[in-house]
Structures are given as C-alpha cells and as structure tokens.
C-alpha cells in the first residue's frame, strides 16, 4: 500500500498583484506517496475550503506535463527536486515524512504575481507576437513535400520547438533571463527553411521585445537548461546570439512593424 506522510508547507500567500505577500505555514496531513504534488495541494485546498479558508491559488491545467501552466518553485527549484519534469509530474514519493516544503511562485519582474502562486506570463506571449511565426496566410501554400528538410535539421528544430513556455528557465536563472525561451523559437525557425525569409528580422524583433519586458541578461550559468522540463539546450542561446549579431552587423534587414 501507499506510504503516508505528514508535511509542513511554507507557502507564499498573496491576495493580488497589488498587495504584499508573505509565507504561511500549513500542515499537510496523511499524504500518500503516490499522489502527484498538485494532488497533494488539492488535498490541502479541500481541507482549507472545508474550514472556510481561502484555498491556495496555483496555475495548472493538463497535469501531464505539456501545457506549461504549472509553475511552482519547490524548495528552491523550479518544478521541484527532479530533473526533466514539470510540477504536475512530480510525485510525493520524492519527499519524506516530516519534511518541510517551501513553495514559491516564479520570481521575476516580468512575471508579476497575480495571486498566491500564480504569476502573469503574458510577457512570453508578447515576445512570441513580436516575431515567433512565419508570415504565411491560410491557403495558397505549396504541397508539404515540396520542402524537403534533412532529418537532422528537422529533428533539431523539433527539439527546440518542444518548449512548453512554462517559464522555469526564467525562474531558475539567477538573473531572471528569458533567453532560453526566446532562443528556442528563434532557433526553430533559423534551422527550418520555412523560417529563412524573415530570419534576421525575427531575431531582432523578438530580442527587442524580450528586453522591453524587463527580463535579465544571460550569464551562461546553464541553470535554465538544467531545470527545463523539456530539455531545451543552451546551444539555442548561442544560436540566437549568432542570429542577432549577424542581423546587426552583416545584414540590412530592419524590423518590420505592422500598421
């Protein structure tokens, strides 16, 4: 049978984006080790609700590690103590009876806290809107097989494209830099033939937006790569830099702004 445990949670509680938050200590009793971490929080929330207390707000949705919504820093690490998974894939067997667990939201100026453990990540959307696409309309495109793509390139582009936009890279980075996130999309399109036409405008536009959002600067610590639940590689950042410097020093493309 499942092992049961009692835990002490130190949870960041904050009413809304305008108020100041603080840590609140909550006891989690009789937690089964085959629960997921979020199911543990569900149990705690059901308890709080029964007592008439406000449940802990946290973002989550698919609970299978792909939507990128869940976003908890657990004992000082984004998505908790294991590598290569999201918070929703973390199970309580990674903890032990009597343990104290500190749960915090992603911390970054560009990710303001909305409530408790949920943050506003629309800055990520705005970066994508700045250039994370190929300018093609629906219809009028060539047959899919008229664009052969070497398997190695397709695979590498896929590896970059698997980013789920959770923001763990920002949360893990001591500088709250978003470069892994931004570079993943720039890399995907820099590698694929479909991305070539706007390759250099895209790099400039997305990086401009990234800077405008107030993210920090990469110091190549590699924390983002280590904590990324999808294993997005640091080499994406190098590629992004190359794209950007090439655009700035050797190309004539400006950033295209739509009117």
């Amino acid at each position: 049978m499942a092992q049961h445990m009692n835990l002490t949670l130190k949870v960041w509680r904050q009413k809304n984006d305008k108020s100041k938050g603080k840590f609140v200590t909550i006891q989690a009793k009789d937690i089964a080790d085959d629960m997921s971490f979020l199911e543990m929080l569900d149990v705690v929330n059901e308890d709080l609700t029964r007592k008439g207390e406000d449940p802990i707000y946290f973002d989550h949705d698919c609970r299978e590690g792909i939507c990128g919504m869940c976003s908890l820093v657990i004992n000082g690490r984004p998505h908790g103590p294991k590598y290569g998974i999201t918070t929703c894939q973390l199970h309580m067997r990674s903890f032990h009876d009597g343990q104290t667990i500190v749960i915090e939201p992603w911390r970054a100026a560009a990710f303001p806290v909305l409530k408790d453990l949920a943050v506003d990540r629309t800055s990520f959307d705005r970066i994508q809107q700045a250039g994370g696409y190929v300018n093609v309309n629906t219809g009028g495109v060539p047959d899919a097989n008229t664009i052969p793509i070497p398997k190695r390139i397709a695979d590498e582009a896929f590896e970059s494209a698997t980013c789920i936009g959770c923001g763990a890279c920002v949360a893990a980075c001591k500088n709250a830099s978003a470069m892994l996130f931004v570079s993943a999309k720039i890399s995907q399109f820099a590698l694929l033939p479909q991305g070539q036409t706007e390759r250099y405008e895209r790099a400039q536009a997305m990086i401009d937006q990234m800077d405008a959002e107030g993210f920090g600067n990469c110091t190549n610590t590699g924390a983002c790569e280590a904590e990324c639940p999808k294993g997005i590689k640091l080499s994406n950042i190098a590629r992004m830099n190359r794209e950007y410097f090439t655009a700035k020093f050797f190309r004539e493309e400006d950033v295209h702004t739509h009117s």
């Binding site: 067997r93 696409y133 097989n145 698997t162 479909q194």
Partner: protein, 644 residues
C-alpha cells in the same frame, strides 16, 4: 425541423459547389465585422488567425493564461491526412470511408467527406508554418499507421503532435495579434451568449483575475471550447476543460447533439486512489507492439493483487491475451471502443490486475525480445518515462498496467453543414460540435477535424452568413439584451457565492463523476440510466443547498470558477443520461447491454436510430425536447463493424 443544409449533388463535389454558391464579403467590408472566438485550441486559434487574415476583426477568449495552453496541446499520436505519400492505396474516399465506418455510421456523410477532402491542405498549411513533423532521411515527411488503420496516413511530431500543431496555429494567431487584427483575452471565461433578434451578437465574460463581468459584441460567435469529458470528474482532459460556454449557449437555443457519445480510451494509467485528479493517457501507438493480457483465472489475479505473485511468475499458458484471442485479425489493434470494453469485461470478471484490480496488463516483453530494448526505447521511450514517473514501475522490466479512461466526447453542439448551430450567427467548431466522428472517433482524427473546421471551413461559411446580413452596421452595444444577459450572469454568480453549505464543489463533482462512470460509462442499461437520472437530480439539489463557495467575485477565485462549471456539468450529466436512455441501440462508444450480438459486440439498430439526437433546452428543470436529424447514407452501405 432540423435542416442540415447539406448541398445537393455528388458527394465529391458538394464542398466545391457549395464554396462557389456561398456569398462573399467584399474585402473592404470585412473590416466592418467583428467575430468572437471562444477557445484557442486547434479549432479556435486556426479560425481566429484565418479570419483575421481575411480582414475580419477578431476577439479571442481563453480561460488559460495563454492561448498556447489549450488542451489540444496534449494530443500525442498524430494527424490523419489522405496524402497517400506512402503509395499504399490511401485516398480521400478511403479516409472518408474509414471515418464513417469507425464512427459506426452515425456521422453525416457530407461533413466527413469534406473533412477527408481538406485534410491534405492541413498538412501543407502546417508545414508552411514551420511545424516540425517527423521526416525520413530523404527529407520528406514520414507517416505511420495509427489506431488500426490499414494505411499509413498519420503525420506526427514524435509524441507531441498536438503540441506542435497548436503552436503552429498559435503562431499564426500571434501574427494577427501583432497586426492588431485579433485582440486576445486570456484568463477570461465565457459565461453567457447574448442574442439580439434571435441572432448571436455577443458574449458575457468574466475576467478571472479581477472578476469583472464584461460584454463583448460581435457579428458572429464561434464556440471552439472543446469537449465535456470532465463531467466524469476523472478524464484525460485538462483540469480546466469544461462545458460552461457550450452549455450556456445551449440554454440560449443551441441544440445539443448526441451527448451520450463519449470515447473511452483504452491505454490510460489506472486510478490509484480517491485523491486522483486526472487520468493520463498514453498514446495508443503502444498497442502496435504491446500485448494486452490478464491471467486466465481469478485466483491468479487475486495472487497478483496481493503481491504474492509477480507478473513474470504467470506462465504463458496461464495468460489470456484476450484481444488476440477474440479478434484474431486485428488483435491488439482493435478500435478504441472495442479495446476498452474488453478490458472492462476482464475486470468485471474478477481478472483485473494491480492493487485495485481495476487494470489489465500491456506487456512489452515480447517486443523487447523481438526488437531489442533500444528499438523499443526509440519508439516508446518518452511514454515509458511518463509511465515510470507516475507509477514508479519500470515498463522495461514489468508489464504496464492500463485501464480505459474518458478521453473525447463525440457529441456536442449540433451544427449544420456550415458549422452553424441552431442559433443564427453562432457556430461550433472542433470537439465542441458533434459533426464528424459519429459514435466513435478514430485515432489521429481529432486534430484533423479541429484544424479543418478552423482553417478551411469556417472562413468560407461565416462569410456567407455575414454577407447575407444585408448590413455592415456595428452591433449595438447599448442594446438592452447585453445589460439583461449581464445581469443574469451576475445573479447566477451571486447565487453561487451565497452557497455556504458543508460540501466542497469537488465533493459534488466527484460524486457526479462516479454516477456517470458507473451508469453512463463503458456499458449502459435502461435500469442503470434511470437510476442515474434520479441520483443526478438529487445531487443537483445537494449542490444548490449544501455546497460551499468561498470568497468574492472580485478576485482570482478557484472556488467560484469550479462551482459555475460543476453546476453546468450537473445539468449536462442529466441530458447525457437522457440521451443514452433514448438511444436503446449500441453504437461505437455508446454500448447498451440490451443491444449486443451473440458474441457480445455492439449491435446497432439502424432501422430506428439512424439519426442524430439533437436536444433543445426548454427551461430549468424541464425535460429537453428531442429533435431528430435523419442520417442519409447515399454512398456507403451500413454494415456491422467487425474486427474479427
């Protein structure tokens, strides 16, 4: 009278002719129209982007913090298209035929044919957007056979096809947001539909962060809100998936079709306990190499459950590979509904495995012996990892335990050939509508349908509606209908917030889920369904008298969000039961124990049930009225599905 508006003429020419016959909106006039798109999954994002490209003003709404998180993202296996790149005999007609047959002859021929027809354009579109599909060494696209199809027509991006397609549609959407043609509202939930003179002219939303109740006006409203599998509490859907937008539209006059058609997916990770919040699906591609079995006797199963025996201790002759035994030609690759039902039969027979006894084995030992561990790892590594993360059991060393789980709902808002609901100006796209999958959906067809509706159908059909309006005037936001509907939404929220009972919303939701799973799940009977109806009605009363909703409207309020959704699930649940009760035949995912062949297979009753059951809301606590759309099959012959 339900008019499906299917154009006349030969099947293969219907869509082309219809496209020509539809009216167009002059390019200069498109910008005078606003279209509301609710939901930003494959259907919503593709529709919003395509309409904005044409020049319409679009507003999108999603409850998540970003359009990119819609649950389409979780689809693993792939997307079908009749490209015939593999030269293995595929064609538009074959894809059409397979889909109709797979849906157990309960889908509309013309819609399904159109779906197969535009499937080829979808792949072109996605590749042009930079979706990194799997490729062969020569650089061309790779295909695989999926879900028991006899041809390789499934395009895929490792185990993350849904994610890559959604990110493609999201990128097209982002481009239009940047251009200012789309305004994106995130963390917004649609709570009602606004009708003016019988036409859909706007929606009421709640800003989930501030609680603000807002009115949004538009010339057309597109519901792209996905399925309602979460009525079962446990399903493979995301936690936030809900029926609220569709249900509120239903209460404003959109008929709800075939609500009882639910797909139970066979390869999910079994439930571990009461705390379980959702079920995780593993791609059914696992059944290509995994062998499904249980012990031949209850005694052996009991010993496995007690931990006295390990799976490896069960001798080959004591194992029952029940799918291979019963369906020698399809074996482990029978369609989803058949595989699921057989697993349930084994468990009901007392031969289930795992601690709970509610699971069957999916064994890769033979595959590893035959192909080597490396090959198995290359094919299924990410799924094996996922299984290991959740269960702490290593599938390379012991068989996986699987059990069916609610996955997809074929039923949904009734739409005509133009995807318009019974409310003029209100459309339903993707899983939200009922149209293309009949009583059972084939693997890799959901992504195809969502994108087909969004990229290639709605841009034409919505134009026809707008062109026929005869006016370019903006929707009057001062029309009293907005204020009236807004007030009704606020009243409902206040009613929910005033509930200060003793049960949590989840308590009620779990109870509802249990009722639905027990009586309206994989096997249904008139007796059970009748009982379920009573239980749901009682539960509804319990909800409205004894549930506890905390906090206030003006904040991020999880308790309130859930309460509104569960209130709607309770009403939907009752309708599902009514529909299941009405349809006393078995077809696809709907299995009535009273209607089976001698061998225990689903037995259709074509004479009496070759129709779409579309339900009309008649008022709170009133029985809904049944409308029938007769299904006419001019091209395929109805036969008993056989996978022997």
């Amino acid at each position: 009278m339900l008019d499906s508006k299917v154009p006349a003429g030969p099947l293969a020419e219907k869509w082309s002719k219809h496209k020509f016959n539809m009216k167009l909106v002059n390019p200069a006039n498109k910008r005078k129209f606003t279209i509301i798109v609710v939901g930003t999954g494959l259907a919503g994002a593709s529709a919003a982007a395509s309409l904005a490209e044409l020049g319409y003003n679009v507003k999108t709404f999603c409850y998540q913090d970003s359009p990119r998180r819609a649950h389409s993202i979780a689809a693993q296996g792939g997307i079908n298209a009749a490209k015939n790149y593999q030269n293995d005999g595929d064609s538009v007609y074959r894809l059409f035929y397979d889909t109709i047959k797979g849906g157990d002859y309960r889908a509309r021929e013309a819609n399904v044919y159109r779906l197969a027809e535009v499937s080829v354009n979808i792949i072109d579109q996605c590749v042009a957007q930079g979706v990194p599909f799997a490729r062969e060494y020569g650089g061309l696209l790779d295909n695989r056979s999926f879900g028991g199809a006899q041809v390789s027509r499934t395009f895929y991006a490792r185990g993350q096809t849904g994610q890559q397609l959604l990110l493609g549609a999201y990128s097209a959407l982002n481009r239009q947001i940047r251009k200012g043609k789309v305004i994106s509202y995130t963390r917004h939930e649609m709570l009602d539909l606004v009708k003016i003179d019988g036409h859909a002219r706007g929606i009421i939303t709640r800003d989930m962060v501030t609680g603000k109740i807002e009115s949004h006006e538009g010339h057309a409203v597109l519901l792209c809100t996905g399925g309602y599998g979460n009525v079962f509490f446990l399903s493979t859907n995301a936690m936030g998936c809900n029926v609220t937008a569709a249900w509120r539209a239903h209460k404003r006059g959109a008929f709800f079709a075939n609500p009882c058609y639910t797909q139970i997916h066979p390869t999910c990770i079994p439930v571990t306990g009461d705390h379980q919040s959702k079920l995780t699906l593993m791609s059914e591609s696992l059944r290509n190499d995994g062998r499904v079995w249980v012990p031949k006797t209850k005694e052996l199963s009991e010993k496995l459950r007690q931990g006295q025996l390990k799976p490896a201790d069960i001798k080959e002759e004591d194992r029952d590979y029940f799918l291979e035994r019963k369906y020698p030609s399809f074996g482990n690759l029978v369609p989803r509904d058949v595989a699921s039902r057989n697993a349930k039969e084994m468990v009901d027979d007392g031969r289930g495995v795992g601690k709970s006894g509610v699971a069957v084995f999916l064994d890769f030992a033979d595959a590893i012996k035959r192909l080597g561990k490396d090959t198995v790892e290359a094919k299924y590594g990410n799924l094996f990892d996922m299984y290991y993360q959740i269960t702490d059991e290593n599938p390379y060393e012991q068989p996986m335990r699987i059990y069916p789980a609610v996955h997809y709902t074929m039923g949904g808002i009734w739409v005509d050939y133009n995807l318009m609901t019974t409310v003029p100006g209100l459309y339903a796209l993707g899983e939200c509508n009922f149209s293309d999958h009949g009583a059972n959906r084939l693997g890799a067809s959901a992504l195809m349908q969502g994108l087909s509706d969004g990229y290639f159908v709605i841009p034409y059909t919505v134009g026809d509606y707008l062109a026929n309006l005869g006016s370019f005037a903006p929707v009057d936001k001062n029309n009293p209908a907005f204020e009236q509907t807004r007030k009704e939404v606020e009243d409902k929220i206040n009613a929910l917030l005033s509930l200060k009972g003793s049960k949590t919303v989840d308590d009620i939701h779990k109870k509802l889920g249990n009722i639905m799973w027990e009586y309206c799940g994989m096997a249904r009977t008139a007796e059970g369904l009748t009982k379920a109806k009573g239980l749901i009605q009682e539960l509804k009363k319990e909800f409205w008298s004894d549930v506890k909703v905390l906090g206030e409207n003006e904040e991020l309020n999880m308790s309130l969000e859930k309460a509104g959704r569960v209130a709607d699930f309770l009403e939907l649940g009752e309708l599902m039961v009514d529909d299941a009760l009405n349809r006393s035949e078995s077809c696809g995912g709907h299995f009535r124990l009273e209607s089976q062949t001698e061998e225990g297979e689903a037995k259709r009753d074509d004479e009496n049930f070759t129709y779409v059951a579309a339900w009309e809301f008649k008022g709170d606590d009133q029985p809904e009225a049944l409308h029938k759309e007769e299904l006419v099959f001019e091209n395929v012959k109805l036969t008993q599905r056989s996978y022997k």
